[in-house]
């Protein structure tokens, strides 16, 4: 029936954070779906990665502004690192196992303390398929995600792995889905030692499992794909939820906003303006199309984007109209 597993009560702190009971079993089921992954030890040495410092102990690995694919090795998402006195957290892990290994190597160079949390901002492959590179070791990290992330990964994972096999070559063509071991129902604080991260789980917005990460010490907000900069936003959830989430975040104190794709921003809430403008216009245009009796195909054909400067309009704009139409036709 429901794909959602029963929800635990809201968690308020790290110690009270629920270890997802189903997670080990889910993981086993997903493993069963796979061809054995290439062992990390057999993989070629990862290319040296550059981490860009944003604040003391806070770094970003910038992805390229391209669609997830073999041409860029899946290296398209921004990945974050926050270092505390006790341990470190990474925010998203990369778009392939190789991308994850390269990021891990860079993380180990930058951080004197081990990674204790691998946080996934949502289920898309460019953000989660590096997870396996962080598994194991003397002190294996917790994998942290939205309460709906396990279900989203279980449903979508096989298609992402299929796309890897279809489009990628070499060791990156095989991956494993690593589901969360610690889930966030609404809000969760993680203590890295003299540094706290605040994780917020959002109602359906960019996807149905979006999580933001705020480093309270530096005011750095990792938005995952709730924010795209210079890259066409991708609607794979609900426009209304997304706009509501952006509106809510406008009231927060943020010094640096790290988008899932594109350059980090120091203007807040100005960093949200361009994306909010695009999504608002998409919503208005699609509503008008539905009101005027346009079919889905006609709406997709005729509703144009207003941001010729953005990357990947050709890949994502029509898709966004499709998703907006399917959502908004149920209004009124």
């Amino acid at each position: 029936m429901a794909t959602q597993r029963p929800c635990p009560t809201r968690v308020g702190g790290e110690r009270r954070g629920r270890r997802a009971h189903a997670a080990p079993a889910l993981g086993a089921a997903l493993v069963a779906l796979l061809v054995a992954a290439a062992a990390a030890a057999d993989a070629p040495a990862p290319a040296a990665e550059t981490l860009e410092p944003l604040a003391p102990g806070v770094y970003v690995r910038r992805g390229v502004l391209e669609d997830w694919g073999a041409a860029n090795g899946g290296r398209v998402a921004n990945l974050g690192l926050v270092v505390g006195s006790r341990c470190a957290a990474v925010i998203d892990s990369g778009g392939t196992p190789g991308d994850g290994r390269a990021f891990r190597a860079a993380v180990e160079r930058a951080s004197p303390v081990p990674v204790c949390y691998v946080i996934n901002t949502h289920a898309h492959p460019d953000h989660v398929l590096g997870n396996e590179a962080f598994e194991g070791g003397a002190q294996p990290p917790q994998f942290v995600g939205h309460a709906r992330l396990p279900a989203a990964l279980q449903k979508r994972g096989p298609f992402y792995l299929n796309a890897l096999r279809r489009d990628f070559r070499g060791p990156d063509a095989e991956a494993r889905i690593v589901p969360p071991t610690l889930i966030v129902e609404q809000r969760l604080e993680l203590d890295l030692g003299e540094r706290k991260l605040r994780l917020d789980a959002w109602p359906t917005a960019h996807t149905d499992a979006d999580l933001t990460v705020l480093d309270e010490a530096s005011g750095t907000l990792f938005l995952g794909d709730l924010l795209f900069v210079g890259h066409t936003p991708v609607v794979d959830g609900k426009l209304k939820g997304w706009l509501a989430a952006l509106q809510q975040m406008r009231g927060w104190q943020v010094a640096t906003a790290v988008p899932g794709h594109g350059a980090p921003q120091r203007e807040w809430p100005g960093a949200l303006d361009a994306e909010q403008g695009y999504l608002t216009r998409l919503q208005a245009d699609t509503r008008r199309a539905i009101k005027d009796g346009w079919t889905l195909s006609k709406a997709v054909e005729r509703i144009g984007p207003d941001r010729p400067d953005w990357k990947l309009l050709d890949v994502f704009h029509k898709r966004n109209v499709t998703a907006a139409y399917a959502e908004l036709e149920w209004d009124d």
């Binding site: 029936m1 694919g69 096989p158 298609f159 299929n162 149905d208 889905l296 195909s297």
Partner: protein
């Protein structure tokens, strides 16, 4: 109650059910299927060869369909979960010439026969417009059976969408929360004896379910809309037999022929044998 027995024409739509039984072994997880990258030859698809044998045996199928049906699909699935598809009859239904049944087939989906549609003279036109999931690069086919017993096929190759798009729904929890909400509507003026476009929207996750977890033995069962029967004043205009290849919140646009003021009714039954009904009074002008 067997949903198929609700078919108002009295003829159970056995084609797809039989095919599903026969083709149980064909429905594999996506990664196991052949990964076609181009669509040069619709006949070369091994999935189609199996389906063809099961559904149509050795009956000839003409691909000279310009005067029969037109199949509209995008070349590339923008969103794998919601791909618009339309089959348009190239003539009005009449005693002399009509389309009795349409099959909508997606070769490389886990359940390739996405839908069958049965029409009558009261349909006016044997059109359908809906949205489907596209799991993988695949041919999408429309097969029509005309009243002379002949079969016709149009096929388009549709490329799968990019990496982060996947066929599962956007918000399955929300879809389940509003399960069974139905909208039946007719847009614009309705004119007596003119084929009239109607739309049926069904709030339903139309879920293929999850694979059994071997450790916990837990799984999410399939739940999808199985049959839709639309009638005008009790006379059938559309009988649809659907599957989980149809997108979340199934949406059908079709025609009916109002010969007098009357009531348009839609009966929907899902795979849990839960039934919903909607109706709309229609007052055509002369």
């Amino acid at each position: 109650m067997d949903a198929d027995s609700r078919s108002p024409s009295g003829t159970a739509p056995i084609g797809r059910r039989a095919a599903l039984l026969l083709l149980g072994g064909l429905a594999a997880a996506p990664y196991a299927r052949a990964q076609l990258k181009s669509g040069d030859d619709p006949e070369a698809s091994p999935q189609w060869q199996k389906l063809r044998a099961a559904l149509f045996q050795d009956r000839p199928i003409s691909t000279q369909v310009a005067d029969i049906i037109q199949l509209e699909t995008p070349r590339r699935a923008e969103d794998a979960a919601v791909v618009p598809v339309a089959i348009r009859a190239q003539f009005a239904q009449s005693e002399q010439r009509s389309i009795q049944r349409l099959w909508l087939i997606v070769d490389n989906n886990p359940s390739p026969v996405s839908a069958t549609f049965q029409y009558t003279l009261d349909s006016g036109r044997a059109d359908i417009e809906t949205r489907i999931r596209i799991d993988e690069y695949s041919f999408v086919r429309a097969v029509a059976e005309t009243n002379d017993g002949r079969l016709w096929m149009a096929a388009n190759f549709v490329k799968a969408s990019g990496g982060c798009s996947a066929p599962p729904g956007k918000d399955p929890q929300a879809a389940l929360a509003s399960l069974g909400k139905i909208r039946l509507r007719v847009d614009g003026d309705v004119v007596l004896n003119q084929a009239t476009l109607a739309q049926l929207m069904i709030s339903h996750p139309n879920d293929s379910g999850l694979a059994m977890d071997q450790l916990t033995r837990q799984f999410t069962p399939r739940r999808y809309v199985r049959t839709v029967n639309v009638a005008y004043d009790g006379q059938p205009v559309l009988s649809a037999d659907l599957d989980f290849s149809i997108s979340e919140n199934p949406n059908l646009r079709f025609y009916f022929l109002p010969r007098a003021p009357g009531r348009l009714t839609a009966d929907v039954v899902d795979s849990n044998q839960v039934a919903w009904k909607s109706s709309l009074d229609v007052a055509p002008t002369a």
